[in-house]
């Protein structure tokens, strides 16, 4: 059995399920990106794997342990989750925020931080390059810095699996690369199993070991970036025309959008998209 295994997962928020029939597996040292259009269920999938959606059915096992039989704190020692948006209400400092990852790694509620806890917090802050910011309040940070604080907190949780919901969404190009390089390092050097929801296909293709395409709550393709970055599949998944070429620095495929010419107005483009959607049905 694989390290993380998801079988026939169905999840939602009370209404009809947002994702259904999802099965996937992840090994230590594997870096998987779930890609899909807006509303396809990527974020729900990432949350569902850590049992964070209000409604959930199926089977999830980590290292042979059934997640549905574990307590919240036991799950938190196996999986760490980095949310997409985070609006701090109260003004915790960076260090306090990262240290919260250790609360449930301690023997009791009233136990103080051990040396090991302190070391884990410090190392996590250094890895995500927020150590210099440790005394700053979260409200004083930029979106990119906050994102790195959240990643740092997940690292301090010291789990074999990392789940991230669109980690690049608030970041500029430079930080996007930094975050993905950090994740790749964690995957390769520390053997973490990493799963991200990501809408930036080029970023995912350059750094992830495999991709999953998800559409309308179902997985429609899975494979290595070289296999999935393919014109017709992307058109089917994202309803957009792309060209696929090889990135010179990585040797991996990347896409560029085919922009409709001036003779095809937006309305025509929409009509064409609609037709394509109907045909598909």
């Amino acid at each position: 059995m694989k390290f993380l295994s998801v079988e026939n997962l169905e999840a939602g928020y009370g209404g009809p399920p947002v994702i259904s029939g999802i099965s996937l597996e992840l090994e230590p040292g594997e870096f998987l990106a779930v890609c899909g259009p807006n509303g396809s269920g990527k974020s729900t999938l990432v949350k569902a794997i850590q049992k964070l959606t209000p409604w959930l059915r199926g089977k999830i096992t980590v290292n042979g342990r059934n997640l549905f039989e574990l307590r919240t704190r036991q799950i938190a020692s196996l999986l760490a989750y980095v949310p997409q948006v985070f609006e701090p209400i109260f003004d915790f400092s960076v260090e306090e925020t990262v240290a919260m990852a250790r609360y449930y790694r301690q023997p009791g509620r009233l136990a103080g931080f051990s040396e090991r806890d302190r070391a884990a917090v410090e190392e996590a802050m250094k890895l995500a390059e927020v150590f210099e910011l440790r005394e700053k309040k979260l409200n004083e940070l930029s979106g990119g810095e906050r994102q790195r604080v959240l990643i740092s907190r997940a690292l301090a949780q010291d789990t074999p699996v990392l789940l991230l919901d669109e980690p690049s969404s608030h970041l500029d190009l430079n930080f996007q690369l930094q975050v993905y390089r950090l994740l790749q390092e964690l995957q390769k050097d520390r053997g973490k199993a990493i799963l991200v929801a990501e809408h930036n296909l080029n970023l995912a293709a350059a750094y992830c070991s495999s991709l999953v395409f998800i559409k309308d709550g179902k997985i429609i393709a899975r494979g290595r970036p070289q296999e999935l970055l393919e014109k017709e599949l992307i058109k089917k998944t994202f309803r957009v025309e792309v060209e696929v070429r090889t990135n010179r620095s990585t040797g991996l495929p990347e896409i560029s959008l085919v922009h409709p010419g001036p003779d095809r107005g937006l309305i025509q483009t929409r009509a064409a998209t609609r037709n394509a959607a109907e045909e598909e049905r």
């Binding site: 928020y13 009370g14 949350k47 850590q50 049992k51 964070l52 209000p54 409604w55 307590r71 919240t72 704190r73 799950i75 938190a76 020692s77 999986l79 760490a80 989750y81 949310p83 985070f86 701090p88 209400i89 109260f90 003004d91 915790f92 400092s93 306090e96 919260m100 990852a101 609360y103 449930y104 790694r105 509620r109 009233l110 309040k137 409200n139 907190r153 949780q157």
Partner: protein
């Protein structure tokens, strides 16, 4: 100033002013009392004024202090619970329920005394607990309870209870004065039994809230994040809601409705000690006690020999202080 030195400063100030507040509360009153007599009454119980100092002034000062700690702790809990620094102990309708109960007992003309609680207090306590429990159960019927649904149900139920209270008062105008006196809050009828009752509630709440304070830090990040960091969100939320409701309801039942303490004190303390609930809960409670002790002293003194409702004092002195805190330079 760094948080640790601000913390030391706050602790020292709380200690000194609380001692001073108690001393003045015992010394000042319609009957002239010297400090010497106060000390004699406390130490040996052998003073001509012992009955006044230990029988009237001390329980009153203690009750004011303890109700202040309860309201402030309740406010601190609910502000974290709702992730909203504007939440206060009465946000879920505890005060509206209590008013309804108290006015109802006046209308019915009930007379009894149980553990220091009059019929009015007892009905206020019951109605307050019932209302908040009802609010919780109704909002839990939704498959996925959210804090927003709880909050809105609480506001609606509070409005309903207020409407019923107004109707009762409108219906029987003769109970109006008595009801208003009760609703505005006062410690003039303080008794030792009430002190023990509130003390018991407070000790329980302080111990449990301190035990779960780290979880409140996690809850203040949002339920999803809290759960992903290992917090059993649902059960922790239940415990905190129960504590906040007990604190608010018991306070209202012995002292009437005293606004503003549970809103401004935790907020002000958070600006000084930071948002970590392990520090916030305890210091909010201590500061709330001091705040209400001083407010009650002022309520007794400002228009002596007649008394102001203490709720008027808390708002009159609390509001400007609050505005200052919010708008002072470098505040968050």
């Amino acid at each position: 100033m760094k948080t640790t030195s601000r913390l030391r400063f706050l602790q020292l100030a709380l200690l000194l002013f609380t001692l001073l507040g108690f001393l003045l509360s015992l010394k000042l009153g319609p009957v002239k009392t010297s400090l010497d007599e106060v000390f004699r009454a406390i130490i040996s119980g052998k003073s001509e004024l012992t009955d006044i100092i230990l029988g009237l002034r001390l329980p009153r000062a203690l009750l004011a202090y303890l109700v202040g700690t309860c309201l402030s702790l309740s406010g601190a809990i609910l502000q974290g619970y709702f992730r909203n620094p504007l939440a206060d102990p009465f946000i879920l309708g505890a005060s509206s329920g209590a008013s309804l109960g108290a006015v109802l007992s006046l209308q019915l003309g009930l007379v009894l005394n149980l553990a220091g609680l009059s019929a009015q207090s007892l009905l206020a306590l019951l109605a307050s607990l019932l209302l908040v429990s009802g609010v919780y159960l109704i909002s839990e019927r939704r498959r996925f309870q959210t804090t927003e649904s709880l909050l809105l149900t609480g506001i609606a139920a509070g409005a309903l209870a207020s409407a019923l209270t107004s109707f009762l008062l409108f219906h029987r105008a003769d109970a109006y004065e008595q009801a208003v006196f009760w609703l505005l809050g006062s410690f003039s009828l303080a008794e030792w039994q009430q002190v023990w009752l509130i003390l018991g509630t407070l000790v329980l709440a302080v111990l449990v809230s301190q035990y779960l304070a780290r979880d409140m830090n996690l809850l203040s990040l949002g339920d999803e994040t809290a759960r992903s960091l290992g917090c059993p969100v649902r059960s922790v939320r239940r415990v905190f809601l129960l504590l906040a409701t007990l604190l608010a309801s018991f306070s209202v039942s012995v002292a009437g409705i005293i606004g503003f303490v549970g809103l401004i004190v935790p907020h002000g303390v958070r600006l000084i000690v930071g948002p970590d609930h392990r520090r916030l809960f305890l210091h909010s409670a201590l500061a709330g006690g001091l705040f209400l002790l001083v407010s009650d002293l002022l309520a007794r003194l400002v228009l002596a020999p007649s008394e102001l409702p203490v709720g008027v004092v808390t708002a009159a002195f609390g509001a400007p202080f609050f505005i200052y805190l919010l708008n002072r330079p470098h505040s968050s």
